[in-house]
Amino acid sequence: MAIEWYLALSALIFVIGAGGVLTRRNPLVILLCVELMLNAGNLALVAFNRMHGGGDGQIFALMVMVVAACEVVIGLGIIVALYRRHLPIDVDEMRELQG
């Protein structure tokens, strides 16, 4: 299959993820959407790796997965902490860091 198909799929997934991040207010869903975006990136990396040969792209994809795992751990930790303190689980309410 030509690389364009992979790239088109990757872009589609990325836009879905970005749209979710922009529109949703639940941090849990936002994390899911961020995960979608990261995996869209991974797909593009692996596809280009297949095109150019070698292993650099795959290694990068593995590293992105590690980063994504870390990010989810921290993100979920924050969400659990919010839940325990009976704070609203809504990113629009969490704006104490405004200037």
């Binding site: 991040v21 529109t23 629009d92 969490m94 704006r95 405004q98 200037g99």
Partner: protein
């Protein structure tokens, strides 16, 4: 030793004295500091005499020696050296300065004996003499300016010596401010000359000046007038004279040394030293002569109405320096310097005698409250009369010869100078009147209680010491006059100093008896050999003797007038005062110079200051500069802060939008 080595020693000794007395202030007991300071001055005078003898040993054309210790700045085109010029003029000044200073130090050893700031006083006094010697020995403009400024600073320190007296500190500040004005004039004048000739050295300047400047060249006249501003400020000439009468707040030895004999004659020395330049710029010379003449008349008339003993002598000093400035500006250099020398003798003597009277009055300087001290203080009376006769110009006292030489030589210039000489004769009459008014009112008449007490051999001490100027109660701790005071009759050092000066005031004039002796002429010739006036101005014998006779007559007439008015018929003064009320008010208020300067300079300056504070500072500095800067920062930060809304999705949208924009831009570029 060579003349220059001895001159360096004469310069170094007072400095050493100042440092030693200052550093040992905990160590000195009793009058030790006074003796150390006086010894330094006598040593300096001995060196000056040695330098004089060594210089006389040189051939006449070799009597201008320059000696440099080191370079201040080794820059191409600038000869800034620490150099001294030893020639007859500087040696004459050196002899007068160190000689009179040594005697005044000796006087002060006793006079200041009861003061708590004794060591400090002698340290300041030695420092003053060092500065003055530096000024007269300076071989270039740089050293001259340094000495000039040091002298002003020393004068400030000594006028404000009793630093807890508000009147004394105010007088010190006034003197310092006016002197700094003169310093600025001197520096700017030196700059004008330096920019023309390219050298700071005196002798080189005089050599190059005729090549660089044409006669009455604009730059040269400006430079000379600015030098005159410096000279006027230091020599208390109109309109920069108002500090000198106020300076009488200082201790009497200070008045005798600084404000009569040495510092105030610096302006006369400066004009004489710069004579090649003033001869190239006759306009500046004429300006100097006119100002000198105006000063001598204004000061003499003011002295007629004053009642403060020391202020009368101060005004007479101004008047006599007016004669000297007139003489040296008109080209009668030797006459001016001759009067400078004799004036140093008799004026220091008058101040010392006045100091003795003031001590007997326990600090009171008001003549209205004095009288009848003749029997209580015969020695002081004698000295005062000798000084007064010399000042009034009665033959054969020294002032007679020097004053008449000034008038005779200045008259030789003809034209406008004849008017100046006529004014000089009028002022000479006034001089005799006010001098003997002072003597008659202080020493004759009914003895005041203080004089009676002294006749019993007991010195008057007030119950509460007060400031005679303001009447405030004082203590006798440091910063105020001490508890003890000394009069010449009971104190040998004062008697020796006054006796020596009285002798000099009598015989000092014999150096230059017209047609008989001309020692000073011969001595000063190497300095003034190139001068166009030195040979040309020589009054005929007939003119000289007419002048001498007129001078003697005027002096005696003045004394007779004073005797008639204040001794024979004591009510006359009040009657004359009634009849000439406007003139009396003019003289009593010192020609309203303080008020004039206040209205023309001080009030506008104060108005400008308050304008700057309220309008400029508040609107421009606070409002525009400070407020503007902080306003810009505040507005910028407000704009940046607005972006920090705290909405996570807004940030993400911005981020994505930016990314998309970048991507599109790169795609378009490709």
């Amino acid at each position: 030793m060579s003349a220059t080595t001895l001159a360096w020693l004469a310069l170094a000794l007072p400095l050493a004295g100042a440092i030693v007395t200052a550093l040992g202030f905990r160590f000195w007991r009793g009058r030790a500091a006074g003796y150390v300071g006086t010894a330094a001055l006598f040593g300096s005078f001995a060196c000056a005499v040695g330098a004089f003898l060594a210089l006389q040993g040189e051939p006449a054309e070799g009597r201008q020696l320059v000696s440099a210790l080191w370079d201040y700045a080794a820059t191409a085109g600038l000869d800034a050296e620490l150099s001294i010029l030893v020639d007859p003029l500087s040696i004459l000044m050196l002899l007068v300065v160190t000689g009179v200073s040594a005697l005044i130090h000796l006087y002060a050893v006793a006079y200041m004996g009861g003061d708590r700031g004794y060591t400090r006083f002698f340290s300041y006094l030695n420092f003053f003499v060092f500065s003055m010697v530096l000024l007269v020995l300076a071989g270039n403009f740089l050293v001259l300016i340094i000495g000039w400024a040091f002298v002003g600073a020393a004068s400030y320190l000594l006028i404000s010596f009793w630093y807890r007296r508000a009147t004394a500190t105010a007088a010190g500040i006034k003197a310092f401010v006016i002197n700094v004005l003169g310093d600025v004039g001197l520096v700017l004048g030196a700059y004008f000359l330096f920019s023309g000739t390219g050298t700071l050295d005196f002798l080189t300047t005089f050599e190059r000046a005729p090549e660089v400047f044409t006669e009455n060249d604009g730059d040269l006249v400006a430079g000379c007038i600015l030098l005159l501003v410096g000279a006027f400020a230091k020599s208390a000439q109109v309109p920069l004279h108002t500090w000198l009468p106020d300076a009488m707040e200082g201790p009497t030895p200070v008045s005798a040394l600084i404000h009569a004999a040495t510092m105030v004659t610096a302006g006369v020395y400066l004009i004489a030293r710069m004579h090649p330049l003033f001869e190239l710029a006759p306009t500046a010379g004429t300006v100097g002569a006119i100002i000198g003449c105006a000063t001598l008349l204004i000061a003499a008339t003011t002295a007629m109405a004053q009642t403060d003993l020391k202020r009368v002598i101060a005004y007479s000093t101004m008047s006599q320096i007016g004669y000297m400035v007139m003489a040296v500006s008109a080209g009668a250099y030797v006459a001016g310097l001759f009067h400078l020398m004799t004036h140093a003798f008799f004026k220091a003597l008058l101040f010392m005698a006045a100091g003795s009277v003031i001590a007997a009055m326990a600090g009171n300087q008001n003549m209205d409250q004095m009288g009848g001290f003749r029997r209580a203080m015969p020695f002081t009376f004698g000295c005062f009369v000798v000084g007064g006769l010399a000042l009034a110009g009665v033959p054969p006292f020294s002032g007679f010869f020097s004053k008449d030489e000034i008038l005779a030589y200045t008259a030789e210039r003809g034209g406008i100078f004849l008017v100046l000489v006529a004014v000089g004769y009028v002022a000479a009459f006034l001089t005799a009147v006010y001098t003997f008014r002072m003597i008659f009112r202080t020493f004759l008449g009914e003895p005041v209680p203080e004089a009676r007490e002294l006749e019993q051999g007991h010195l008057y001490h007030p119950e509460n010491p007060t400031n005679p100027a303001s009447g405030e109660i004082e203590d006798t701790e440091v910063g105020f006059p001490g508890p003890e005071h000394h009069v010449a009759e009971q104190s040998p050092p004062m008697k020796v100093a006054m006796g020596t000066l009285a002798l000099l005031a009598i015989v000092g004039g014999f150096l230059q008896i017209p047609t008989v002796t001309h020692l000073l002429d011969d001595f000063l010739e190497p300095t003034f050999a190139e001068s166009i006036y030195f040979e040309a101005l020589s009054p005929s014998d007939a003119a000289t003797f007419v002048g001498l006779g007129l001078g003697a007559l005027i002096g005696l007439a003045g004394i007779a007038t004073a005797w008639l008015v204040w001794v024979r018929e004591p009510g006359t003064a009040a009657k004359v005062r009634q009849r000439l009320r406007p003139a009396y008010a003019l003289f009593l208020n010192k020609w309203w110079f303080d008020e004039l300067i206040g209205a023309v300079i001080v009030r506008p300056a104060r108005w400008l200051g308050s304008f700057a504070l309220t309008a400029f500072e508040r609107l421009f500095v606070q409002g525009t500069l400070v407020g503007g800067t902080s306003g810009i920062v505040r507005a910028g930060s407000a704009a940046v802060r607005a972006a920090q809304s705290g909405f996570l999705r807004f940030y993400v949208a911005l981020f994505l939008g930016g990314m998309v924009a970048f991507t599109i831009w790169f795609l378009l570029q490709a």
